[in-house]
């Protein structure tokens, strides 16, 4: 937090909440934006902004902030419920391709914990390992020796596992970058040129996965597997 105390952020947040209550949605969003500019965020503030944008009928912004909120609080039922409202009002319906069990596991493992949480876990397991090795050296009864041996072995394996998952989480957040369509209607083309064929149309609020970029063009993938190129200016990355 640069130059802004916790209390100040709370203060502006509360002011925004009050304005929202009085249905002054634009003013509320301005307050909340100020909080975000101060360098802190939370799932709650993104949720509130998304709700305000919903009442301003700005569906793309609304979806954008719901997705942001879900990044910070993936299991929150309120966010999911309100996002369903907005998704009903969107024009595009993208049905995700069914995934194999392995793919599901693969993705779930990349989103289980944050990379830093895995880092702490790995340190914990390493400490446990060191402790177990030392106790193996010092205890004398065979039962205790066996226990500490097993503990050392297990914690070493768990250490390796958490380092692996930490790496995976890090690469997941690098490989899975998302964006929301902000243009009312845009064409997805087969290549990064205006002369390339328009494959299909997308409308505001649709969530896309970002792949590669060239100049002002961005390759995207929908959750149903369709791919194409769009102008990067029509998107807003999460």
């Amino acid at each position: 937090m640069k130059g802004l105390s916790q209390g100040q952020a709370d203060n502006w947040f509360d002011q925004g909440n009050q304005l929202y209550k009085n249905q002054q949605y634009k003013e509320a969003i301005m307050r909340w934006e100020a909080v975000l500019e101060s360098g802190v965020h939370s799932g709650e503030i993104y949720f509130n902004m998304a709700n305000a944008y919903y009442y301003l009928n700005d569906l793309a912004s609304s979806i954008y902030y719901y997705e942001k909120a879900l990044e910070l609080a993936p299991k929150d039922p309120d966010i999911q419920a309100n996002r369903a409202y907005v998704q009903n009002a969107l024009i595009d319906v993208v049905r995700a391709q069914p995934k194999t069990l392995f793919q599901k596991w693969d993705e779930a493992s990349g989103q289980l914990l944050t990379a830093d949480a895995w880092a702490w876990l790995s340190i914990l397991f390493m400490a446990l390992f060191v402790f177990a090795v030392l106790s193996f050296r010092w205890v004398e009864s065979p039962g205790a020796k066996r226990l500490s041996f097993v503990t050392a072995l297990l914690s070493l394996m768990l250490f390796g596992g958490s380092v692996f998952l930490g790496q995976k989480t890090q690469s997941y957040s690098k490989n899975y970058r998302w964006a929301i369509v902000f243009q009312q209607e845009m064409s997805v083309r087969s290549g990064p040129r205006l002369s390339d064929d328009a494959l299909f149309e997308l409308h505001a609020g649709t969530k896309l996965r970002l792949l590669q970029t060239q100049d002002q063009w961005q390759e995207v993938e929908l959750t149903d597997g369709r791919r194409g190129w769009v102008l990067a200016q029509d998107l807003k990355a999460l």
């Binding site: 009928n57 993936p74 024009i91 595009d92």
Partner: protein, 591 residues
């Protein structure tokens, strides 16, 4: 005053004949203005009042074949008199080129009138002499079919009008119906023909500078569908024409001959301009004209499963039937039915006019606020020569009560489509408490600091082992040192006794002193004056082993006894080693 009245009377008197004279007409009429060298020309000098002293022009460049022939007609119709007196000449040209027939003069009511000079064009001799009295020739010269095109250089899809007019001069008449031989085909046009209803209206008009009567046979509105040169195929009619001949019937009336002529409107070529490509809006679908665009919804608040109507309307003037209305996009929670199209178009000579509407029936499936995206419509204005985009206002549909219905949506964690029911609850309220985290956390996993932690923990193992090895060595050292200390202690206390080993009485005295000294130093006991019972009691209190106490007491007793009884060197030796053992035993006692 009287003078003014006189003047007014004078003005009336002078003005009276002028009013009469204004109606006098004296004109020269030629049968044709263009003729071959081998043809003949008739010229009539016509007046509507009786005149005298007719003075014909000198007809320079012509030879007078006949004339002057004088004819007078005088008729009363509905009490109105019409009079005409004509002098006719038949002339043959003598040379080619433009020849001016000079003025003729006549005196009517002692006023001299002059006709206007007439210019006649004389061309090369023609093969068939255009006999001014030949019925066929007259028919073809006096009936013309013309296709008038309103704009021969229109834009693609811009309305143009083709009007077919049949011009008939005053010399011939058409009394029976014509037959259409060849209807024009408009291959690359969208066309609509406006039928002339009922009796044909007869208009007065000019055709190549001459007075004609004409009828409008047909008006066709065309919308070019292709760019480039397009041709309109001609309209061809078979027209029966009544031509007045010179012969007269029994009653002196002119006899008419009927001639069937095939006349054609001629082929017209139209150069169609393409619509400009620059600044063409993306949503342009080919509308050309002047339009208004609007969208409307029948209701803004309703319950789920009720229906509302959303209509898209374009009204104005242009190719209304020839473009598609913009297709609106609706939220996915709406059930959308095929739109019903309603056209209210009337076609006039300037093009189509009216409105085109598409009405969509929508049935929302879930509650919520549904903003309908704004819709825009682009058309090309051929007058301004640019594209115009009109955007209709957007609408918001508020679905108040929704059923407990499942909707497909993406779940947060895996982006796969799974059904998450939107429960019956309202849109949830905002959260009032927030936990702040830095917006851009620096990742810690994988950094050098993180690996330092891991390495540090791993390094604990060798460090620990090294330390424990050192400690063990240190512990071994202390055992040896304790041994040395004990020896030093014994040596310290028993050095005097050891020195007196050869003198038993002195030895025992020194031994007893040194034992008391040892107890005093070791156990902080002043024992020299105490009884043996007290010594053993105190030592028991200080946890000295009973065996050590017994042996110490025994040793002290022996020392006391040795003062009175003689002892041997063997005893001295035994007691000295006994003292060593006892001291080390007591010394090892824990405090």
């Amino acid at each position: 005053m009287k003078a003014i009245v006189k003047y007014i009377i004078l003005i009336f008197v002078l003005a009276a004949p002028m009013g009469l004279e204004a109606q006098v007409e004296f004109v020269a009429k030629v049968s044709k203005k263009k003729l071959g060298l081998n043809e003949r020309l008739r010229i009539d000098f016509e007046m509507n009042e009786d005149g005298d002293n007719f003075e014909p022009p000198d007809f320079e460049g012509f030879r007078v074949l006949g004339g002057p022939n004088q004819s007078i007609s005088n008729s009363w119709i509905n009490g109105k008199r019409s009079y005409s007196k004509t002098y006719s000449f038949f002339l043959a040209p003598l040379r080619k080129g433009a020849i001016t027939i000079g003025q003729a003069a006549i005196e009517i009511d002692s006023q001299r009138y002059k006709s206007l000079p007439v210019e006649v064009m004389v061309t090369e001799a023609v093969e068939i002499p255009k006999d001014g009295n030949n019925a066929d020739y007259l028919a073809s010269e006096n009936v013309h079919l013309v296709a008038e095109v309103s704009n021969t250089n229109p834009y693609l899809n811009e309305a143009i009008t083709v009007v077919y007019k049949l011009y008939v001069s005053n010399q011939v008449s058409i009394t029976s119906n014509w037959r259409e031989i060849d209807s024009p085909k408009y291959a690359d046009f969208w066309s609509q023909t406006l039928d002339q209803k009922g009796q044909l209206q007869i208009y007065e008009g000019q055709y190549r500078g001459e007075d004609y009567r004409y009828v409008i046979l047909r008006t066709t509105v065309l919308y070019p569908q292709k760019t480039g040169e397009l041709s309109i195929e001609p309209l061809t009619l078979d027209v029966p024409i009544d031509v007045r001949s010179n012969r007269r019937d029994f009653f002196g009336r002119f006899m008419t001959t009927r001639v069937n002529k095939t006349i054609s409107a001629g082929r017209r070529t139209i150069e169609v301009k393409p619509l400009p490509l620059v600044n063409r809006p993306e949503d342009f679908t080919g509308a050309v004209g002047y339009f208004d665009f609007d969208t409307s919804i029948s209701r803004t608040e309703l319950d789920a499963q009720e229906s509302l109507e959303y209509s898209v309307t374009v009204r104005g003037e242009g190719n209304l039937k020839l473009f598609e209305l913009p297709k609106p996009q609706f939220p996915n929670a709406f059930e959308v039915y095929e739109p019903a199209r309603s056209d209210k178009i009337s076609t006039r000579s300037t093009g189509m006019r009216g409105s085109v509407a598409e009405v969509y029936t929508l049935v929302p499936q879930n509650q919520g606020n549904y903003p309908l995206p704004e819709l825009s419509f682009s058309y090309f204005d051929p007058n301004l020569e640019r594209y115009i985009t009109k955007t209709a206002t957007d609408h918001v549909v508020n679905v108040i009560n929704g059923p407990e219905q499942e909707t497909t949506q993406q779940s947060a964690s895996d982006q796969s489509a799974s059904t998450v029911p939107v429960d019956k609850e309202r849109f949830r309220y905002i959260k009032l408490k927030a936990d702040w985290t830095p917006t851009n956390p620096t990742p810690w996993f994988g950094t050098w600091a993180y690996w330092q932690w891991i390495l540090g923990l791993l390094l604990l193992l060798p460090v620990w082992f090294a330390l424990s090895a050192v400690r063990e060595r240190y512990l071994g050292d202390t055992a040896a040192r304790a041994q040395r200390q004990r020896k030093r202690l014994i040596a310290q206390y028993l050095s005097e006794a050891k020195a007196q080993q050869n003198n038993p009485s002195a030895f025992y005295g020194a031994l007893e002193r040194s034992l008391h000294l040892f107890l005093k130093a070791k156990l902080k006991l002043e024992t020299s004056g105490l009884s043996k019972e007290n010594i053993s009691k105190l030592m028991t209190q200080r946890n000295v082993a009973p065996e050590a106490i017994e042996r110490l007491i025994g040793l002290i007793e022996r020392c006391e006894r040795a003062r009175y009884a003689p002892t041997t060197a063997v005893d001295v030796q035994n007691d000295y080693s006994e003292a060593q053992e006892v001291i080390s035993m007591v010394n090892s006692t824990k405090k």
